[in-house]
């Protein structure tokens, strides 16, 4: 409208201004828009890269924790074999050597008996090492029996009351999953006994949809999710890192919270079920 008015009045200078300022204005608008997009996207990408870096560091820490855990296990087994089994077998060898020197039947009988005792002890020791690596109850009877067996041993101490209830045992987890879940629960229970001064521990298991759920209740001094995340990022706390790396292998999740009455702490583990495990 302005253009027609300007043209009718013969004001070409005004028209030139409209054209020049209009063109410059539109260009400025376009360039501003492009600049905003570019700078905003640069900031977003930078932020995403930082997040990615943090995640990578976390993964690295978990991997290190896993490797450290393995090394510690190997060292413990090596120490057990070297310090306990080694001397026992060496003593048994000594007794048997005695047999070759002393030909008296009474002495020979005595040394054979002693050697037998020592070999029995060695067998028991190796069995204990083997059981600590893979609990036989878990292998032969499954997770429920292994947990109940573990809880019976805890109850035997008389300090803490541990109980477990499995609601849905129709479909078992795979052998590998059961071992990982057992190790996670074992680590959690050990932590509760060591740090929380709890009077009782109760484990509940159930299945919902394609997930298996395990929840530990205890009345001691527990931790919440925020504290768990913090401890997990710290360089200390190998046990928690092992829990996280096992949860990761299981593609599950773990959460720490407290019930609404603020009395019991809860640790909930969610494990996706692999189809076809009976």
């Amino acid at each position: 409208m302005q253009m027609y008015f300007l043209q009718a009045s013969g004001n070409t200078f005004g028209l030139s201004n409209v054209l020049i300022f209009g063109t410059i204005g539109m260009c400025v608008m376009a360039i501003t828009l492009v600049s905003v997009v570019v700078f905003h996207q640069r900031r977003v990408i930078k932020f995403n890269k930082q997040l990615q870096k943090i995640e990578e560091e976390k993964q690295q820490m978990l991997l290190k924790a896993s490797i450290n855990f393995q090394e510690e296990e190997r060292q413990r087994i090596a120490a057990d074999l070297h310090d306990d089994a080694g001397p026992l077998l060496a003593t048994a060898r000594l007794y048997l050597n005695e047999n070759l020197i002393h030909q008296e039947p009474a002495v020979q009988l005595q040394s054979i008996f002693s050697a037998k005792q020592i070999i029995d002890d060695t067998i028991q020791l190796i069995r204990n090492i083997s059981h600590s690596l893979m609990p036989p109850t878990l292998k032969n009877f499954g997770l429920e029996s292994a947990i109940k067996d573990l809880f019976e041993k805890i109850n035997g101490s008389g300090v803490i009351n541990a109980s477990a209830r499995f609601h849905d045992t129709r479909d078992r987890l795979t052998e590998e999953q059961e071992l990982l879940v057992f190790r996670i629960l074992q680590e959690l229970v050990t932590n509760i006994i060591k740090h929380s001064s709890a009077g009782f521990i109760h484990l509940t298991q159930n299945v919902q949809g394609n997930f298996s759920y395990f929840r530990i209740h205890h009345d001691g001094k527990g931790i919440l999710q925020e504290e768990f995340e913090k401890l997990n990022y710290d360089s200390v706390g190998l046990g928690l890192k092992n829990i996280v790396s096992r949860i990761k292998v299981l593609k599950g999740s773990i959460s720490f919270d407290i019930d609404s009455s603020q009395t019991y702490y809860k640790v909930t583990i969610e494990i996706p079920r692999e189809p076809g495990n009976k």
């Binding site: 070409t12 054209l19 063109t23 260009c27 608008m29 376009a30 828009l33 492009v34 997009v37 292998v249």
Partner: protein, 215 residues
């Protein structure tokens, strides 16, 4: 030159569209020059240029935009613009005037699509810098070229007989054509970006962790 850049990258559909658009621009310039030399009216050439330019830009967006929902709107938009351009040129201007109204509508539609594309880039989770992609440079070419020439073309219908305006028309049009060609050249020089799979690394780590825990 453009053909050389284009060689070996024929599979990129958006690039192909821009290549044909550039070829068409060159042909259009040649025909326009010829019509000017023989003193013939070139209004039909302007109208055809507007229509084909919108066709190329629409086609570019059709390939460049993510599938839903605006991509489906582009063909409908093109069809409506085609009808509008025909009505404007044949009935309103009666084939005897510059199609300013149609150019204005075309510019606004394309600028809106440019803004939509940039908003998608803002919202997206792409890990690539937006200016490292070919499509981005084409989009800013459209945006700057059409924003810069919008006022010029809108005013052209009534002012084309004015000598001073004609000079301004030539200057502004040439400047923005040069900018357009420079930006499109940058776009053509962009190397195709390889697609990375970010999950691969995590998967490898999972395998390592799983192996470590099992043994």
């Amino acid at each position: 030159m453009f053909f050389l850049f284009f060689k070996g990258r024929e599979k990129e559909k958006t690039l192909r569209v821009i290549f044909y658009y550039i070829v068409y621009c060159i042909i259009n310039e040649a025909i326009g020059y010829y019509l000017h030399e023989i003193n013939k009216s070139d209004f039909i050439l302007f109208a055809l240029y507007t229509l084909l330019e919108f066709t190329f830009f629409s086609l570019f967006y059709y390939y460049a935009l993510p599938k839903k929902p605006v991509r489906k709107v582009v063909p409908i938009m093109w069809a409506l613009f085609f009808i509008f351009e025909c009505i404007d040129f044949f009935l309103i201007n009666q084939m005897n005037a510059f199609d300013s109204f149609a150019v204005g509508v075309e510019s606004i539609l394309i600028i809106l699509l440019c803004i939509y594309y940039l908003v998608i880039q803002l919202k997206g989770t792409n890990t690539l810098f937006v200016y490292s992609t070919f499509n981005f440079w084409v989009i800013i070419t459209f945006l700057i070229y059409l924003s810069g020439t919008l006022f010029l073309y809108v005013m052209a219908e009534n002012m084309i007989q004015n000598r001073e305006f004609r000079i301004q028309y030539i200057v502004i049009n040439s400047v923005f054509n040069v900018i357009k060609n420079i930006l499109l050249s940058i776009a053509m020089l962009m190397k195709p970006t390889p697609i990375k799979n970010p999950e691969q690394k995590d998967r490898n780590l999972d395998e390592v962790l799983s192996y470590n825990l099992k043994n």
